[in-house]
Symmetry: C2
Amino acid sequence: MTGAEQLLAALHAAGVDTCFANPGTTELDVVRAFEAVPGLRPVIGLQENVCTGGADGYARMLGRPAATLLHLGPGFANGIANLHNARRAHSPIVNIIGDHTSWHLPFDAPLTSDIESLARPVSGWVHRITSPAETAAVGAEAVRQSHARGGQSATLIFPADHQADPVPVEGAVALPQGAADGLPNDGDDVATALARLSQARRIVFLLGGGDELSGLGARAQCAVARLCQVLPATAYAETFPSRSERGQGLPAYDRLPYFPEPARAVLDPADLVVLVGAPVPITYFGYVGHPSQLVQDDRLLVLSRPGEAVAERLEHLAEILQAPPYAPTVLPLPEAPTGALTPAAVGRVLTAALPEHAIVSVEGGTCGYPFYAVSAAAKVHTTLTNTGGAIGQGLPVAMGAAIACPDRPVLALLSDGSTQYTIQTLWSLAHEKLNVVVLITANHQYAILRNELRRNGAPLSAQAAHLTDLGSPAIDWVGLAQAYGVPASRSTTAEELAAQLAHALDQPGPFLIEMAL
Amino acid sequence: MTGAEQLLAALHAAGVDTCFANPGTTELDVVRAFEAVPGLRPVIGLQENVCTGGADGYARMLGRPAATLLHLGPGFANGIANLHNARRAHSPIVNIIGDHTSWHLPFDAPLTSDIESLARPVSGWVHRITSPAETAAVGAEAVRQSHARGGQSATLIFPADHQADPVPVEGAVALPQGAADGLPNDGDDVATALARLSQARRIVFLLGGGDELSGLGARAQCAVARLCQVLPATAYAETFPSRSERGQGLPAYDRLPYFPEPARAVLDPADLVVLVGAPVPITYFGYVGHPSQLVQDDRLLVLSRPGEAVAERLEHLAEILQAPPYAPTVLPLPEAPTGALTPAAVGRVLTAALPEHAIVSVEGGTCGYPFYAVSAAAKVHTTLTNTGGAIGQGLPVAMGAAIACPDRPVLALLSDGSTQYTIQTLWSLAHEKLNVVVLITANHQYAILRNELRRNGAPLSAQAAHLTDLGSPAIDWVGLAQAYGVPASRSTTAEELAAQLAHALDQPGPFLIEMAL
């Protein structure tokens, strides 16, 4: 048994069944090792950010790590952006980075680089494997570390010789167990929480994303709705939840707005802001005239940290406060729109078409916000958003979610600018025959930047218009998808979109719809 | 004048006229500043590795830095792989990375990350701007630093507030000048060189790439040919030169082979290996049974370091040794191939078609080596290769070379696997209407990995075949190019390729040819 086979076997024994891979020469013994560990499925990506985003989507849906397999420092670097997003999503991931044979490293061959320096900013734990004998221990420890601090990247650097060399029959090396702390248990206790809740005159609950027991799981959302009935309170989702449940039967919470002015309109009037798995609200960027931390500590009550289970605690509070049971409101489906395709029309069409238990990966503001505004009336579904701001995350996350949940339909509601960063994902959708319907908002511009440039009322300068224009030439999204083996169509009206969406959801495998807005 | 305007003006004053840009919200004041510095041309890329590879190609052709403009840590991370290649090419580049407003950084907003840790592995100099007052000094120093150590990345981290804030009328801050060393002047002196050359019985010159005065510039190549006439010597180009001159009128040097066995067949018999701007020959990866350093120090003579001018020194040696003048051999053009498209046929067709002073960016072994085997018979041209092994470099480098040299035809001879990493470059070729002809070797596999997997004679396992297969579905390169606005055609025979290549070279703007091998 080689070191590579032992590592894969150890990861598999610890529950890892999927590896998003873009290997090179220094990972070939890991490639060979898949043969010996048939329960560990390799999923190939044409660029590394596809792989890391895939692992993020997988982890958000299943709460356990997939592995990635990446090629030395430069290959890993290509996947950093989506590991940054995964870090903000608290997604457990085990990265395997091949490196030069250990005795070759001092010679500074062309592909040599400082992998540790690249890995640390996105990894909670980085370990360089120093012999085949430690690979069993390392596999188990990496999975354990990936669950630390609410979920993080555990990154292994695996020199090629330690992959290829045999594991000694006797003398497996134990790894000194590093700290793999859970979350600090410093949420305010129930008595304190009750006291502060009963004294407050205006309360805002901020619900954070995560698994089914998080603030945006179904149970927590319903418990918060009960609390809102007996307290002077309203509730919002955090602006960019890693995962949240939404739709008929659940309360229709808005997300905290992105820009500081409307966010402050929500938060400033509250004398108590209750964090239910949401991070302390910070403006996305620094804006002159607005504080970075929108709510100072004295107005904050922390019921749970991001990644922490909170459903039971909320239900307990609701019982103590004798809140009546949650009674869902049946929301009418929005009227079917007609005519030109507008962001609002896209939101309504998608809301009406969404199958039960669909997963929707949302990236890009143009259609993302209008969809959220009406999607509470859709059948119950799960949304995944861009947590870290590194764009090019929506399509790989949809791919990973589809790998994780093959029985659930997956949709990706994306903007054209951001989707280009990881466009190669389309090939993996076709290669793996995944049930992913991709909706592209094709406005052929970096609209978010134009919005920011115009925030002060200034007109767009010629150079600024040039640098935010994606329209010359306009990318042909239908042709692009078809070139990657993904069937595609173009919608210019709401009726066309509705018909094409029904067709796309009805057929197996991926489909892309270019929405000409 | 804002800090951003001052920085751009200082860069422009120091000779920077091009900025490869993929900005976001934290770079908007740099975007605004382009209006005030019309001599500095922004070139937009849809993904950051397109921008950094473009700056690399630009620097290789002109020997001076372009700027890049990138979005915080995650945006910069997307461009690291091609900065790694640029580092190996000794390309001067000035990276501008926007960051959060300085007072916003402590709040760990979603896009916050450790930019310095990401930047150091690929940057010779990293500087965080701390006030608008220092931007004039910083711009000049960054350009100076980019030329240090034979050429390197100088990376600026530019918080948004220091971009936007006005530069004080008085009180410009000077920057403490850091060391910006040239190359260590430790090449062996002429007397030592002469003594060792005259004692050696079998000499191999290894020529390193770079500008016109480097080992692979025309003058040095001709001087080495003269030396080979009076010494028991042969000469090779380094395996992956950043830039080299080739074609009629120049000596027809082979490249040092990639794999260790044939490389050792060249080097082992020599009792003296003379480095003419080439690095010490190191195997690309560590191979059991082969030393990493293929020539030990006692057999090495260093005439010049990578990036150092060497033409004059070589000519001086040739004069002392009374070598006769260089007399070029006229090489016959290879016979026009017919029938099925093979790598050898591609090499011959391209050699025959190459216009004088063309620039050829080569990435991928399948057609790269066969082209090199015959291209000495082509009209004089410049080749650029992948210096650092991070694939996805060939197309952006071609783009940057075309921006740098608008009057020279540019060709990119690329493999399908590697081109996918930065496929978005196609859009920039169309957007900028660049005269770049892209030739794609479409064999729908990671052929280099299959070659490595089969090196020991082992058959390809099912999983290894799966992980190196790009054929299901086969990417439609013609459709892909057209979707990005690049006209394209497909060749299946040598005659078709010759006709399509003539057509592509004849028309303005980019063109892509899928070569079905």
